[in-house]
Symmetry: C2
Subunit: 189 residues, 2 copies
DNA sequence: CCAAACATGTAACATGTTACATGATTGC
DNA sequence: GCAATCATGTAACATGTTACATGTTTGG
């Protein structure tokens, strides 16, 4: 019977399918490119890599200069990843958004505080939007060589990035609208 | 020293601030209105309510006909909720979106499967969009009486709903764009 | 030399999910 | 009578976070 992996295990396999990496590099990947869709700390990643290794889905190659372990995906690992992508449905809606949850309860605080909250949300969405756009401009400008896997993976990461851009743009628009909508009550004497 | 509550505890206080409810009703609230921003199962809710009660943030009134317990928020509970809203920052970006994570790895599967995946995402976003719009149309049409808290809470839940509508709309647009973008490679001979 | 970044791991705790367990009421 | 819904709880397991713990290398 094959191992039952969670989302984290598959995410690690997906990152290793692009190129072999160390646990440290994988940890950084969760902090940067993947940060907006999934996150994981190194304390969760190292044990999970050990688990993947036990089940033959990855293997460790030569140690790097500072004692780093280079993990490589095995054919069995690739097969497991493709099965996950083709034969299982994404866990329905794992969205947990504390920022939006708070909006439901803003009627409890003074109107000026609610407005301040929305203004801050607006600023945050705009900041992320600028950052994402900068990344996109940078990535599409660079010629970017590499093996086939890496350039194909880059192509799809840009597609995901576009989702982030549209998402932040929509939510920035919403924040501005909500700010007007929230104030509407007070405008009237 | 005051209790340290997680997001769930505050979400329960927020729901109880609108009106007293039973654990069962709160469970349903997480399945419907709040489902898109936060979720919780009854097995997590009942113990958390007990914890809130222990710390005097809620109290139980008369039992309902089928042995249901009517939880009511206390002044201390309201104070704790307001403190959370005004004095703490939202946990930075708790977004976990398995559907979008998978997009990063779609280069691994045959192009027709990747396209099928995106088409399914498009359908799901459109479906939710229709559902949200229906809820908005229904809610804005109804006169909806109730106590002050409830109508103010409704006002803010509609503001949150608008975010959901704009979000699904943006992501539906993205899905359609991604479908074209993904196919672009194959079009060329 | 020393701080920052590289690099890996474990332990304790918090949160969240699935499965087990039980019983009452309503509508057909 | 019986199925669906209402109603509450616990136990076992899985996942995720914070804190503890240690050692290397590079660059200024």
């Amino acid at each position: 019977m094959p191992v039952k992996l969670g989302t984290l295990g598959h995410a690690l396999l997906g990152l290793l399918a692009m190129r072999p990496q160390s646990g440290y590099e994988l940890t950084r990947a969760f902090d940067v490119s993947l940060a907006n869709v999934w996150s994981a700390k190194h304390s969760q990643i190292y044990p999970e890599l050990a688990k993947l290794k036990t089940h033959g889905l990855v293997k460790v190659g030569a140690s790097g200069v500072r004692g780093s372990k280079r993990y490589t995906i095995t054919p069995a690992g690739r097969a497991a990843l493709v099965r996950w992508l083709t034969e299982t449905d994404p866990a329905p809606h794992t969205l947990r958004d504390e920022s939006m949850l708070r909006v439901f309860f803003l009627w409890m605080v003074p109107p000026d505080h609610a407005a301040a909250y929305l203004r801050e949300q607006l600023e945050q969405h705009r900041t992320r939007l600028r950052r994402y756009r900068a990344i996109r401009e940078h990535a599409t400008a660079a010629p970017k060589s590499g093996n086939g896997s890496e350039s194909e993976a880059l192509r799809w990461s840009l597609i995901a990035l576009e989702a982030g851009i549209r998402f932040e743009n929509a939510l920035a628009g919403w924040s501005a609208w909500a700010l007007r909508e929230a104030g509407a009550k007070e405008q009237l004497p």
